[in-house]
């Protein structure tokens, strides 16, 4: 074992995905002003001012190449991802990225039906089921934003108060309005394209009040596909029956983290600065005469990917980086502008890759203090020998930002004992509430597919440019799940592996030449896919645990997953299918949907079979809440049990809502930086005395 003592680190961040990158970028944009004795934004520092940098260390489990951010090297690595994607047969979300034995990732190709009580151990996750958890993630520089689709709706106000509105699940410790300014910051950082005027949601009477008066997205909406236009036109003004209710269909252009034309009316500056007031630090957009949005292109070349070019491979990889990924934020953490405006690598943000963090230790005298962080650093992609490293964190803030599987895994692997009332009590870090690892959630994606009566030319443009928002909220939520329905532009590729399966089918029928071409044209141009992302409620039994029986090659526990779905969600899926049937009928879509008992995630409800997929929305394993008994962290993602530990990411979310979680986790993470600045302020000021 080796104690690495280099320069003292003020903040140690585990993970370089969007959460870790946002913490690093936002913090490192601030410095300690020695004279003013407080944290100030870099941009406000005069040339003669004495300042002290916040020293930040980031730890990434993925390969070193994945966090090289200079133009030459980042291009080379990314190009390798792209070429790997092109050559892989199964173009699943993880396909472009290195599949590391030293830091394995959950992969959709590893999902199998489970025959309880025997767990399925095919992949990285040990799946006890009874339902397999159906989503993947990737442990690589930039995290899972490397293969996200990029859809960024905000949560709705009622999503934050399911208990008080519908008497289900639990209320968040914060309201939508609390999070609103941070949503704006997240939309700025991710670079969201969209049109506020065209957003329409149930229960939201005034969209401009919901978004904020005069608010615009940084970029104009990504053009909606021809298919979207045909479907919206076919259902214009239509309503569907849901139970006894009649619900109007809203087709809204999906806000997304994908570059389009900068919005001339966008009036926020690109500078997110903290101001210290009586309640502590508060982040907001700095005033600027030059408030406009600067499009972020590729990490290697800011002039590539300034607009979406319609490559249509957003998942798993955008070849030009027009789609946001966290490497863009990470680069802004590591490179700062000098006085001439040029980007220079800063010494105060370091990234150490190939470093798998697996455990934290607390002080014997003060269990509230995290004193050590344990990691194993492997030598190379090919070799599994590693160096055991312990970082002293007594004077540092530790931020776990390693995703909703890894965060609870590390916490559960960090035991300590305390004496309470003279009795020795065994604990794990941050887990007085016993909520660490619990409430694992995902959107259950039910797909329905068919042939449109005329060509709608699928397979063009980003994955999804329109969604049906009508079922995102309503009184039915006391009874069954709400959902959002994106229209998918990629034909039947997800449920049926089109177009390859269509070719195989027609050739199997003996077709060739002109007949085959015509059959393919007729089918592929008319393929429509509807997609229902069903909200899953938090359930204490849906959880991640660990055991010494299931270790990876580095001797680190693998996440064990227990997962199932409840009546509430099953009924939601039944209702969604009924809605789908009504829409198919109105549009004259020939239904090709088929759910089989051999599907990985399938169940029978009221004598009807339903199958679903994962949405990649891994949420809820270290939820925020009202106090130390009901949750792992407070609303600033700070562990209730420890003075120097934050746990950030989608795991922080109390409930799932119907929005894709990345934007919300980004907003929560940005907000958590305020609390970190308070902690750092106290620390820097005590050191300076």
């Amino acid at each position: 074992m080796k104690n690495q003592e280099t320069k003292k680190k003020d903040v140690i961040i585990v993970g370089t995905g969007i959460a870790g990158a946002l913490v690093a970028k936002t913090l490192s944009d601030h410095v300690y002003h020695l004279k003013k004795k407080k944290m100030v934004h870099r941009a406000s520092v005069g040339e003669k001012d004495s300042i002290q940098e916040i020293e930040i260390l980031m730890l990434e489990a993925g390969l070193e190449a994945g966090v090289m951010l200079d133009s030459a090297r980042s291009f080379e690595t990314y190009e390798e991802y792209v070429q790997t994607f092109y050559s892989e047969e199964a173009k699943v979300p993880n396909s472009p990225y290195p599949n590391l034995r030293q830091a394995p990732s959950p992969d959709v190709l590893d999902i199998r039906q489970i025959n309880p009580p025997f767990p399925d151990k095919t992949g990285y996750l040990v799946q006890y089921g009874p339902m397999p958890f159906a989503s993947d993630a990737i442990r690589v520089g930039g995290g899972t934003t490397m293969h996200w689709l990029g859809t960024t709706p905000r949560m709705l106000p009622n999503d934050f108060r399911l208990k008080s509105e519908y008497n289900v699940a639990m209320d968040w410790p914060i309201e939508y309005n609390t999070l609103k300014p941070y949503y704006e910051m997240a939309e700025n950082e991710i670079g969201v394209s969209g049109n506020v005027d065209e957003q329409e949601y149930p229960g939201i009477k005034n969209i401009h009040r919901y978004y904020g008066k005069g608010y615009n997205f940084p970029m104009e909406k990504v053009p909606q596909s021809y298919m979207d236009e045909k479907i919206s036109a076919g259902l214009k003004g239509a309503s569907v029956k849901l139970g006894n209710e009649t619900i109007p269909l809203y087709f809204v252009p999906s806000p997304q983290g994908r570059n389009s034309t900068p919005n001339a009316d966008y009036d926020r500056s690109g500078v997110i600065a903290a101001e210290k007031n009586k309640d502590g630090y508060q982040l907001s957009f700095a005033d600027s005469n030059d408030a406009s949005f600067r499009v972020e292109g590729a990490v290697w070349d800011p002039y590539q990917g300034e607009r979406c070019e319609g490559n249509a491979s957003c998942v798993p990889i955008c070849p030009v980086q027009a789609k946001y990924n966290a490497l863009k934020t990470l680069k802004k953490a590591v490179y700062k502008r000098d006085s001439k405006g040029y980007l220079r690598k800063t010494k105060s943000v370091e990234i150490e890759a190939q470093s798998v963090v697996y455990k934290l230790s607390v002080s014997k005298d003060n269990p509230e203090l995290i004193t050590k962080l344990h990691l194993r650093r492997y030598e190379s992609e090919d070799k599994t020998n590693f160096e055991e490293i312990v970082k002293d964190t007594s004077d540092s803030i530790v931020v776990l930002a390693a995703n909703a599987f890894e965060n609870p895994k590390i916490l559960l692997n960090s035991p300590y004992t305390v004496i309470e009332n003279g009795v020795e009590v065994k604990r794990t870090v941050a887990n007085r509430s016993d909520q660490v690892g619990r409430n694992l959630m995902d959107h259950m994606v039910m797909l329905t597919w068919g042939l449109f009566p005329e060509p709608i030319y699928s397979y063009r443009g980003p994955g999804s440019t329109t969604n049906i928002s009508s079922f995102r909220d309503g009184d039915f939520r006391s009874d069954f799940s709400s959902w959002i329905s994106p229209l998918d532009n990629w034909g039947w590729s997800w449920p049926a592996f089109s177009p390859g399966s269509d070719i195989a089918e027609f050739i199997g029928q003996g077709m060739f030449g002109k007949e085959l071409r015509e059959a393919l044209t007729s089918r592929l141009t008319r393929q429509v896919l509807f997609h229902f992302e069903i909200e899953q409620l938090p359930n204490a039994d849906n959880r991640v645990t660990i055991s010494n029986e299931y270790l990876d090659i580095m001797g680190i526990p693998r996440p064990i997953v227990h997962y199932d779905i409840q009546e509430y969600e099953k009924k939601g899926m039944e209702q969604a299918k009924l809605v789908s049937d009504q829409m198919f009928e109105k549009l004259g879509i020939e239904d090709f949907t088929s759910y089989k008992s051999s599907d990985n995630n399938t169940f029978v409800y009221n004598n009807v079979r339903y199958s679903f997929n994962g949405a990649g929305h891994i949420v809820g394993t270290h939820r925020m809440g009202h106090d130390a008994t009901d949750s792992v962290t407070n609303s600033y993602c700070k562990a209730w049990d420890h003075q120097n530990l934050y746990v950030v990411g989608a795991g922080s979310m109390t409930t799932l809502g119907t929005s894709n979680p990345t934007l919300t986790l980004a907003a929560l993470t940005i907000r958590s930086v305020e609390s970190m600045l308070n902690d750092l302020d106290a620390q820097f000021n005590s050191e300076k005395k």
Binding site: S71, F75, E76, Y86, Y303, Q304, E309, Y342, R344
Partner: protein, 492 residues
């Protein structure tokens, strides 16, 4: 225009017009005053050329200073103040033949030549890029791609200058098509052609973007049978009696101008001169300050026709709108900077977006491919003289760039539609490619004529071109060589 030229700034010599009896002027370049150059009816051709050379350099050097407007004022004053005072010279001015020159036609010819130069680089760069087999040489392809996008930007910016002086730009007519192999209409000894990606073609690209002395040997092409630049043959300008004719201009360019940067210096000089003459026509005297010639005069174009940054992206360069002389300066600064670097450094104009300011000018980016190495992280001490300068030919010594010169389709160089005459499939594919390329040019033409939104279509055509070019390059033409795109004007 903040580019530091190697030539020292030479003090302007103040002189009135030489007596009308003087015969052929001395050939020493600085012996020709600006006044003589413009108004002396007895100036010989050689002296005229030397004068243009000297004065265009001097004008450019005045623009290097931070307060270039004052320098510019001083330049105009020193050359024109006395002329305005003397009654004799005033009279001489009135009868000067330069006032008979059709300025607009002259500038049209000159600026269209600029359009052609910018255009002529695009097909060779695209061809080299398309010839790389899918998945290979990612970095090299990316470098070429980024340069192509900037060359298109330059072409459009020159169109902005044309629009600013109220001339409809032309980019999609047969005479706008470069014919390969071609020689740039400058004093250069290499030919530009449609060649596959190779160290030879990259060497040519380096030569095209060359900032000064030509040191990388370019491949030799056989002398073309036809006139390479159609524009040079066209005579749109009414020949006047004086020296300010397009023939003389072309002769001047092919004798005295050896880089694209210098070409723009001379072009700028002509614009300034004609703008001064415009001022003279309106006010009966010559201008003595920058502000007097910044607006008005030639600048009668419709500002609505200008394309701006909102219409063009994907390039390090900014698309400047041109409404006055200052706008012209920005455009030329951008074009020169991206090609050869600014401040005499290897860096491009806008380097703020790249780490350590490392966005390189085209010349140096191509050298990176050629030498299979990046400049970044190299050590150049050994190449640097006591003034901190290193020769532009210094090879990069930074981190390695992987280049696989063999992962390339063996395309026949400068292939023509005529080569496909006996192969109907190739003929159809070659034609389809040329039609798509024409559509791309049509989109640019429509945009510079005011339908600016059409420019967005060019992205689509760029993708289509790539697909069509690769289809051609995959097919054998002879036992050794494959087909490729011809970039010819599509005919029926």
């Amino acid at each position: 225009m903040r580019q530091k030229l190697i030539h020292k700034k030479e003090k302007a010599t103040k002189r009135l017009l030489k007596s009308s009896g003087a015969a052929e002027m001395a050939s020493n370049e600085m012996d020709v005053s600006l006044a003589d150059l413009l108004f002396n009816p007895h100036l010989g051709k050689e002296a005229w050329m030397n004068g243009i050379k000297a004065h265009s350099k001097e004008l450019i050097s005045t623009l290097l200073s931070e307060n270039y407007e004052q320098e510019f004022d001083a330049y105009l004053k020193s050359n024109f103040s006395d002329l305005n005072k003397s009654a004799e010279t005033k009279n001489a001015l009135k009868n000067s033949s330069i006032l008979q020159v059709d300025e607009r036609a002259f500038l049209q010819e000159f600026l269209q030549l600029a359009v052609l130069i910018e255009h002529s680089t695009i097909p060779p760069y695209l061809t080299a890029m398309y010839s790389v087999k899918e998945g290979a040489n990612g970095m090299a392809v990316n470098i070429i791609r980024s340069v192509v996008i900037e060359e298109m930007l330059h072409m459009i910016m020159v169109c902005n200058v044309l629009n600013a002086i109220n001339i409809v730009p032309s980019v999609n007519k047969p005479q706008n098509y470069p014919t390969y192999p071609m020689k740039l209409p400058l004093n250069v000894d290499f030919y530009v052609g449609l060649e596959k990606f190779s160290s030879n073609s990259i060497a040519t690209f380096i030569a095209i973007e060359s900032p000064s002395s030509q040191t990388v040997k370019a491949p030799e092409f056989p002398e073309p049978e036809m006139e390479s630049t159609a524009l040079l043959k066209r005579k749109t300008v009414q020949e006047s009696d004086g020296l300010w004719t397009s023939n003389n201009l072309n002769e001047f360019l092919t004798k005295n101008v050896s880089t694209i940067g210098e070409f723009y210096d001379v072009l700028f000089f002509f614009l300034v001169i004609f703008q001064c003459l415009e001022y003279y026509r309106e006010n009966g005297k010559l201008p003595t300050s920058f502000e007097e010639i910044n607006t008005g005069g030639l600048f009668t174009g419709d500002p609505k026709l200008q394309l701006g940054s909102e219409h063009y992206y994907g390039s390090g360069g900014k698309l400047y709108k041109v409404e006055d002389l200052r706008g012209v300066m920005q455009v030329f600064e951008e074009i020169k900077g991206q090609g050869e670097g600014v401040d005499d450094s290897i860096f491009d104009v806008d380097r703020s977006q790249f780490e350590e300011g490392a966005e390189l000018a085209h010349y140096f980016r191509f050298k990176e491919i050629f030498h299979e190495r990046f400049y970044v992280e190299g050590n150049y001490e050994a190449f640097t003289d006591e003034n901190g300068r290193m020769p532009v030919i210094t090879p990069p010594t930074g981190i390695e760039m992987k280049v696989d010169w063999d992962a390339v389709y063996p395309m026949k160089a400068n292939v023509k539609m005529a080569d496909y005459a006996s192969n109907p499939l190739l003929y159809a594919q070659g034609k389809a490619f040329n039609q798509t390329y024409k559509k791309l040019l049509d989109a640019i033409q429509a945009a510079v004529e005011g339908k600016q939104e059409v420019l967005a279509e060019s992205v689509m055509y760029m993708y289509a071109l790539k697909e069509q070019a690769i289809e051609l390059m995959r097919q054998p033409l002879t036992a050794q060589e494959n087909a490729g795109p011809t970039f010819e004007y599509p005919t029926n």
